[in-house]
């Protein structure tokens, strides 16, 4: 529901990092989003395509790594990955002594920028190697 400010946040982090890395075009953006954090991938991509036009990040591919929430049973130790609506008890032993953790992750993990081509097109000597 609030994908516009979220996308603005992603773009500003990405552009800052891309400029620090030498202002090369951004090819891919790795995002880590927990399944409980209510962010819709398609919606972010939609806003991203509009907001990134004319920037270093134009055309970059958004890669979403989803982190599932983990349910742990305090009675038998059973663990399972869960999404909303959450179960109210352990699927293995039926105990209601359960704890749900993770799934709230919400960050930019890395970006992939276009490899700078340092080789001189006339003499084919790479200045980095001299």
């Amino acid at each position: 529901m609030h994908e516009l400010p979220v996308t603005q946040g992603i773009l500003s982090i990405v552009l800052e990092a891309a400029e620090q890395a030498g202002s090369y075009p951004v090819q891919r953006i790795d995002l880590v989003i927990g399944t409980l954090s209510s962010i819709v991938d398609d919606s972010v991509q939609f806003y991203f395509d509009a907001l990134s036009a004319g920037t270093l990040a134009q055309g970059a591919q958004l890669s979403f790594r989803r982190v599932l929430a983990t349910l742990t049973c305090g009675a038998c130790g059973y663990q399972a990955q869960v999404i909303a609506p959450l179960p109210d008890c352990c699927a293995a032993c039926g105990s209601t002594e359960v704890l749900v953790e993770d799934g709230m992750e919400f960050y930019v993990e890395a970006i992939e920028v276009e490899e700078p081509n340092n080789a001189c097109s006339n003499c084919e000597i790479n200045p980095d190697e001299q």
């Binding site: 609030h2 409980l36 959450l86 209601t96 359960v98 749900v100 960050y107 890395a110 992939e112």
Partner: protein, 221 residues
Amino acid sequence: MHVPIVKSILTSNDQIAAENKAVLDQHGVVAVNLMASPGAGKTSLILATARSLPAALRPAVIEGDLASSIDAELMAKNGIPVVQINTGGNCHLDAPMIRSAFPHLPFGEFELLLIENVGNLVCPANFALGAHLALVVASVPEGHDKPYKYPGMFAAADVVVLNKVELKEVFEFDPDYFWRGVQMLKPEAPIFEVSCRTGAGVAEWAAWLAQHVAGVATQNT
């Protein structure tokens, strides 16, 4: 070329939230972010809480609403200093909005700031405001399954108030099921059952809040 970053998506909001908290601490104010669905009773809880708190803890209020100022007018009528923020359709308050409300607050005249977020069980959980306490208000007519369906919101709660408890039977509300849903996400969050209409449970909640405010204030001095 791979460039590692690892930075929260809402870093710029989080930074302003941290600045907001510093301003509040500097003025000796403890802030509470009230989050709930529309109609859960955020405004009623603020009014009932203000009446039950000791006179020295009379709160100021920031009202977040999509467009209207109905709630703010109600606060003002009850003698509560209030600043209205209209989000213009935005589904949540954010840290810059709170910052922009600060110049309109009578700092020095209050120690408790209650921030009424936009009625929504999804988005407000992601946007830090700089408050010291996240309060989620649920209500019986919404149903006992809310923690299971909106886990992000309840995982963000420091304390939960269940309102309209006089209607439990009418809505066949299972309090144990509700409590378990909160506890599996936030085992340490206390839950208070209140009725803002009858006044039941409000004194206990207000006493806990007063004690919590005193605790935060002590930490900051």
